[in-house]
Symmetry: C2
Amino acid sequence: MTHPEPDGPPAHGPSRRRFLTGAGLLAAGVAGGAVAGGAAGYAIADDPAPVAKDSVPFYGQHQAGISTAAQDRLMFAALDITATDPKQVALMLGRWSAMAARFCAGEPVTSAPTKPSQPPLDTGETMGLPASNLTITVGFGPSMFDDRFGLTGKMPAALKPLEVLPGSSVIDPAISDGDLCIQACADDPQVVFHAVRNMVRAARGTAVLRWSQLGFGRASATGAGQSTPRNLFGFKDGTNNIHADNATALDDYVWVGNESDQDWMAGGSYLVARKIRMEIESWDADFLSDQERIFGRDKSSGAPLTGKKEFDTIDFGAKGDNGKPIIDVNSHIRLAAPEQNIGTKLLRRGYNYTDGQHPGTGKLDAGLFFICFQKDPRSQFAALQTKLGKSDLLNEYITHVGSGLWACPPGLAKAGDWYGKSLFAGQLK
Amino acid sequence: MTHPEPDGPPAHGPSRRRFLTGAGLLAAGVAGGAVAGGAAGYAIADDPAPVAKDSVPFYGQHQAGISTAAQDRLMFAALDITATDPKQVALMLGRWSAMAARFCAGEPVTSAPTKPSQPPLDTGETMGLPASNLTITVGFGPSMFDDRFGLTGKMPAALKPLEVLPGSSVIDPAISDGDLCIQACADDPQVVFHAVRNMVRAARGTAVLRWSQLGFGRASATGAGQSTPRNLFGFKDGTNNIHADNATALDDYVWVGNESDQDWMAGGSYLVARKIRMEIESWDADFLSDQERIFGRDKSSGAPLTGKKEFDTIDFGAKGDNGKPIIDVNSHIRLAAPEQNIGTKLLRRGYNYTDGQHPGTGKLDAGLFFICFQKDPRSQFAALQTKLGKSDLLNEYITHVGSGLWACPPGLAKAGDWYGKSLFAGQLK
């Protein structure tokens, strides 16, 4: 046994449902007074996770799943905390940390055999499957910093809840926000489901699932190496994104530095998620020329309408024979371009989704589960969305239906560290 | 251009929404009187589809996606026909046939360039992606054989709607049945979504989406070759399934032969789908020994409780020290075993699913989208489910919430053939 392992559910009890109440989960850690010990009651081993095949390193300065090259599958979950004792929340976060480290190394909740008279500690559906490049990214929502846990003084200014931005009038609270978020990404949906399922299980009695979303994406297999994936409008999405190997851009736009008003966020990043429904039936009836005008790009190649290849520099000044700009003044790429937004960039990491058909209309319910990471959502996502929401030609075909903002703390340094350790410092006496 | 290509939406018109009404789709084929010509108004080329990388042959004696080794991803869709003219239905089926042949070869709806003043004929999200072993399997539900299309005399006796079987009391009509079904399977969710989306698009004005379901599964990567995938209870599922290379078993249990009361079904098969919700929170709280008693197998290895390895023969007569059968009399493997069911077998091809959380309870909504194929559902699925629904120990943890039955006609022989050609023969004068 080389990894920290969460305490299991009780080996026996008057009711097999006892585990569901969370009482069993908490008994060992809290009753043992181990919460303030650092890792919330877990037996800690110091050795790092072995490097499994197709695995992304878990420990490090930053959480994985942010600058990590996007995997093919997503399960995103938002949870609300039902507990009132910060120790209980810390215990759960410690448990999550230990589990996440193991899952990302392709291991189950525990390597110890389950006793026959115990519920299995791991739900089992990934037995025999590889790590599949799983990453788990955890974030804290603005609501974590109300008066429940004594964290009001630790709320970063940048975590101020998003205002109702243009184009956001029909956002549904039932698929928005949440005290905590888990972004699980991997190359296998069974692996992301397993991670979220077991973390939700480990949260029982402390937090409950608020909403969740599955997503998919796939970089094109053609061309040299992987190329830009396509969204469900059929256009390449992410051509000018910040790339994982651009450390300067990541420092400039994504990672919170020492300038933050809250030390615990240094090395972290802010996650904005928007569930953007696409009116794909209407889109599919639009002319190709209009679709390309709306995006400002050629649909097939992804080249800007002023260029020939996907990565050609966009010429915003170029005019057509009719004297009008070739890149429409309200096209998506013009409104979103850093050159048109005092250099503003963010790291996008969105996934396509379909939830089957839309209740009532029978239309396919599908779109983009947009995720982005940034230093400061006020000057990055909010500023861009304010502009896009007002003028983007794409708005005729999209509807923002869900929204959320979370502060993702820095990476865990090593086994024994846990999500929010420095955030909760001082609350666990 | 080597493949039949559906007629496109109108190149121009008073409204770009004209396509949505379906009027445009139909104008060319029906007005041209081409429906009865065999392929419902399509320009036909005789050459077979080229063999794309990672592709499953489309033309053949049987539809692909039945005995084909299960791919990793599923999108299943059920549609209801809104048209009343059988010619219009045949036109749509001809269009589907041509599209399906192209998609399964990794090609878009058409290889002809779209005119700028036209909506793109293909929605585009798979541009650059390989065929990904896509298979498309089409079926006709019992409701197709009411008095709308003159097909009442062609309804096979085996397509009699399933009775309310034990364990089916809460089946929701909104996610059950449908005049038509499409089972799209591939190794990429973007590819299965694209197939269903474009087929639904091509059905506009003739049929509408009734419900749909995404699914996933993954054979374990360990062991010699691919091994048995696990369901979301964490158990291996499909150990004793009929395998693709067992031609005798396929002929005995899966493919409809010449004995059918309806010639048009020779070479076809009957598809039963059941959406089976798993009460995973309750399951996760059950003891390992109880989980294994319910299935009759070891959770980790998949071995029957009377054996050591997954494929060991089950000893139904073996008794434990307490004098009781080691394989519980109401365990899942005993009740489902052919040896206990006068040899009855069926070909299972199910997928795991999660739809996020269950509305109201907040529990994870997940389970098994069970699909099976057989010669005759009355003596196969219905007989087995009658037994399982009454006594299976698993019933405490599962709920059948959706159900459907479709007759999947034989495979298309070559370009120009279409789904239901012999079914509709005589209705297209």
